[in-house]
């Protein structure tokens, strides 16, 4: 039953292949289709890897008109012209990868960002590009900077861990380190210009005042043993200092006497800001945002979340606030707060 191909059969086959063109064409089609169908399939399209503003630690916020800056984790500075985004990653050179702790405008379109390893970068184009002006190569000596303030009377200050205080007289282009016994080696977390005097606050209740433009500092009487994480100058020229576990103090006599404010919960506060109408906003642990409409005497809960800590808050024109911290950037609106503004 298995007959072989004899010569005539072969000849027939040749003839067949001439006349069998529709079948040959179809065979070719199937072959082509198979090659295409089983060739490597393209990878599914995914958005490119990027810095998601809600997945990166942000420590500092700054605003210049519509322009918003957010500085944080691993040398990222995000730039946007609308709080809803889109946020772009600014160019920082060289990119040291150290974490930024604060960003601050010192003039129109001129901004400074400070961070770990005594790193300071400066932008003159409204935050698009940043150039390094200070960095400490020595790993054992380098300390984190926690804030930048000024210009106060032409001088810009950067301050940080272990009593680090740096001063620039040329709007941040060059920096000189300043040491003083009064400062010691406590961490400095916040600064304000109270017109007649400068105030530095820091670790373990540290409060320092200078009445000679920052040349000499005197320690104020300790009013609280926990740390202060920042200070704000209020519209009525009062001073406000905030710190651990919900402790907020207000002074109306340039720091001589302080009165503790009422806050709803013992949660540490790491950032604060004023709104144009005089309202004070503070932000801190457990995604807490506090709000005061009586010059800082009483704070009530504006919003609260879970677990993560906020480092900065920026009031927006529409009554909401932009907050930043461990959970990245987000816009918070007031939660119909229960009667939380009462006594502690």
């Amino acid at each position: 039953m298995n007959q072989t191909l004899s010569a005539p059969v072969k000849a027939q086959r040749d003839k067949a292949s001439n006349s069998g063109w529709p079948a040959a064409v179809f065979t070719g089609m199937v072959l082509g289709a198979a090659l295409y169908a089983f060739s490597p399939r393209p990878a599914a399209p995914f958005p490119a890897t990027q810095v998601y503003p809600d997945r990166v630690l942000i420590n500092g916020l700054a605003e210049n008109g519509k322009r918003l800056l957010a500085a944080g984790e691993q040398g990222h500075i995000l730039v946007a012209d609308d709080p809803k985004g889109p946020w772009r990653d600014a160019a920082v050179s060289p990119q040291r990868g150290a974490t930024f702790t604060q960003v601050h405008y010192i003039g129109d379109n001129v901004a400074l960002a400070v961070g770990h390893d005594d790193w300071i970068v400066r932008s003159e184009d409204n935050g698009q590009t940043w150039k390094e002006v200070s960095y400490n190569e020595d790993a054992d000596q380098a300390a984190p900077l926690f804030g930048v303030a000024g210009p106060y009377d032409g001088k810009v200050y950067a301050f940080g861990a272990f009593g680090t205080l740096m001063v620039s007289a040329d709007l941040g282009k060059t920096w000189q380190s300043q040491k003083s016994d009064a400062i010691g080696d406590k961490h400095l977390y916040g600064m304000l210009d109270g017109g007649s005097a400068l105030l530095l606050v820091g670790e373990q209740g540290l409060m320092l005042k200078s009445t000679d433009g920052g040349a000499n500092w005197q320690a104020l009487k300790q009013i609280y043993k926990g740390s202060f994480f920042g200070a704000l100058e209020l519209p009525d020229k009062g001073w406000l200092a905030y710190g651990m576990r919900g402790h907020v103090f207000v002074s109306h006599d340039a720091g001589d006497t302080w009165k503790e404010s009422a806050t709803p919960a013992p949660l540490s506060i790491f950032g604060g800001a004023l709104r144009a109408d005089g309202r004070i906003f503070l932000a801190g642990a457990q995604r807490t945002v506090l709000e005061s409409d009586d010059g800082g005497a009483h704070f009530k809960l504006y919003a609260q979340g879970e677990r993560q800590t906020l480092a900065a808050v920026l009031p927006l024109a529409d009554g909401q606030v932009l907050v930043a911290g461990e959970p990245g950037l987000s816009i918070q609106h007031s939660e119909a707060a229960p009667a939380a503004g009462g006594a502690k």
Partner: protein, 861 residues
Amino acid sequence: MKANSSFISRMVDGISNVLIGRRHVLSVVFAAMTLFFGYSATHVKLDPGFLKLLPVKHEYMRTMMEYMKDFSGANTLLVNLRWKGQGDIYNKEFMDDLRKATDDVFFIPGINRTHVTSLFTPNTWYLEITEDGFRGEPVVPAKFSATDEELERVRHNVTLSGQIGLLVANDLKGALIRADLQDVDPNAPPDQMRVDYWEVQKKLEEIRGRFESPQKYVYKIKQAQGPFKAGDVVGEGYVDYGWMLRYETFQAIPRTDTGEAGEAVPVKGSEVTVETVKNPEYDPNIEVNVIGFARLLGDVIKGLLGVFTFFGLAFIITLGLLYWYTRSPRLTLTALVVALLPVLWLIGILPLIGFGVDPMSILVPFLIFSIGVSHAVQMTNAWRQEVVAGASAVEASRSAFRKLFVPGAVALLTNALGFAVIMFIQIPIVHELGITACLGVLLMIITNKMILPIILTHIRLEQSCRQHTDDARGGGEGAKIWSIIAKCAEPRCAVWVFVVCGVLLLGTTWLSRGLVIGDSGHGAPELRPDSRYNRDSEQIASTYLIGVDVLTIIVEAKDFEGDSCLHYPVTNLIDRFESNMRGVAGVQSVMSVGGIGRLVISAFNEGSPRWEALPRSESGLSVGSRAFDPNLGFNNESCRAIQVMIFTKNHDGPTVAHVVEEAKKFIAANPVDGVKMRLASGNVGVMAATNEAVGDAEVKMLLSIFGALILLCLLTFRSVTAVICVIVPLTMVSIFCNALMASLSIGLKVATLPVIALGVGVGVDYGIYLFERIQHHMRCDDMNFHDAFHAAMRQRGTAAVFTAITMAVAVGTWTLSALKFQADMGLLLSFMFLVNMLGAICLLPALGAWFYYGQGKPSKA
């Protein structure tokens, strides 16, 4: 060539003479073999295992195996207690249940006890920062009696511990117990070291039943036995075994008079009575969700019980169809028995070669049965035609054997090849499946081609059947259909066939490009989306941050002085990797020593987020050293190896591939001296490796199956044209199959990749059986192609169509399975069988009509 060919026919004649001549001796031999294998088959065991499912040779899996001891790998169990009552979990009722459940999990055999984590285990800590520094303690105090103050304390501690989203649900309505299962239990005696997954899953069911089942079952011994008196309680449980009870064994612990526990005595389930009592621990406010491989396996095995239902169903349908086709109870019975023989032999051989039945390979026997039926039909059909034509049973047998041995053996060889090439997938379970199936098909050469003719010599065909066959051969309905189908072999109609197929081809080719490798959808891909396991998985995934899909990267830093984590280049690399991966689409969250180290450093600095960064100095980093404690499970001793856990949003094939690709990109772009980042562990790591193994195998597998088929057809038909006529329809149907998968969102996976190979291996049978006849008629009777095809269809067409339908229906019953992979396989195989048959009876003649245009005598009609 001539000598060779006649050698084959001489050999076939020789075998047929021996077979029929010595049929009585051979009957005894075959009967003895059947008895032997039947006996051996009673020893077959269910043999599931986790490692078998892994592509063990894949680079990722080698990494995973190497660090199996240090890190949990992919074999994690999650038990979630969900509070359905008022308020949140901080109440006595819930906390008591959680503590009990934690203890139960702790005592499951094979659990790595140092890694059990829940609110009640001492490795769950919190840190509290106050003006005086900070304190760290276990979240639940050692002496905990759930008083109101203590509950408030725990609530407070949990908040500080950062476990919300990890061990405690985001909505505070549930708490997790996390545990790792080892494939090998180091605590057990050597002969019981391999973890019995069935046992583990039963324990997990008990934990669920303890809180969810309103009844409790008490088992009392019926008759005195060993240390027990009749009526003694030998076991308790919360799971209703139903009729399965007789297969259970209770490890009963006798009490001595002094109340001490003695050695456990096994008591069979058939020796006890069940008493149903109220379960005192039943809590309607508690729902228990359990996920993990052991649990999954439990559900898969239960799903498999359904397989027997399908087998029964398929058997009955086949029986009915066979009878309808032959109208002969004798032939029907013969075909079924002969089709069952290779299944029995195969199951008998498994224990002899050290294999067991694995849940994943359980479909093989059913497939073998279906293929067996199809070949038995061809043989009985040929025999019947001979008998009806007037031959004696013995002569008809000999003649059927001679006609069918070559095409039948070739067809079985192609089936075996189909099974063999799936072994290109480098996964042990697939190898096992391939070997078992190959073996089964090869056995069929003996059972179908040798035993069947012997049995047929003893059969006397019923009159009803003769009548039926005569009808079919005469001008009955069948013949008309074949005349219509034979029109495909007319050149003019053939062009229309090409046009229709061409249009289909264009559409399906375009569709087939959408096929993805890997899974799609949430939950365990083995099960259906609405199964309890997948609902549990969804519950956990939606209420916790961690998710259930994790890709683990192992960072090796072996040569650093002291603790590797205290070296900035190491920890910073991990930190940057974490940040980078957090920005990858498809990633939910990332956890490792980098982020945790930063958190600890921040905690040591009054919780300020501005301190949350890794200092470059060793002294600075050592502040965060609590994060590098091996007990946290992110690194081993001295950080020689560190794991980075990337939780993905899902485990869809494309997502997995994208995340792996991005991780590789980062690793390539960020080399650090002395540090090696290795992929991958975790369930997503396993999936990535499996998907890559499947992807690698796809083209290899297709090329080899088609290559082998082309070669076999060439050897059989000695004609390139014949090969084209047989292979082109198969190729087209393979594209159709891919398109079907793409449009039904069935991914290319371990379960579905073999389908094309199997479908092609089985589907080629129709072409081979038909073309063998066509060639015969064209060469011996000098018929033209159309007439030859028509003749072939009259002789074998009915059998081909019939077998295709029978097999498609039998395999189609799998679509009712509770297991999604079985349902997918059933659907696709059904499709392949049916459409390949259509290809063979429509496209094959169309191709032949043009390739053999003008050959042979013109049609008489």
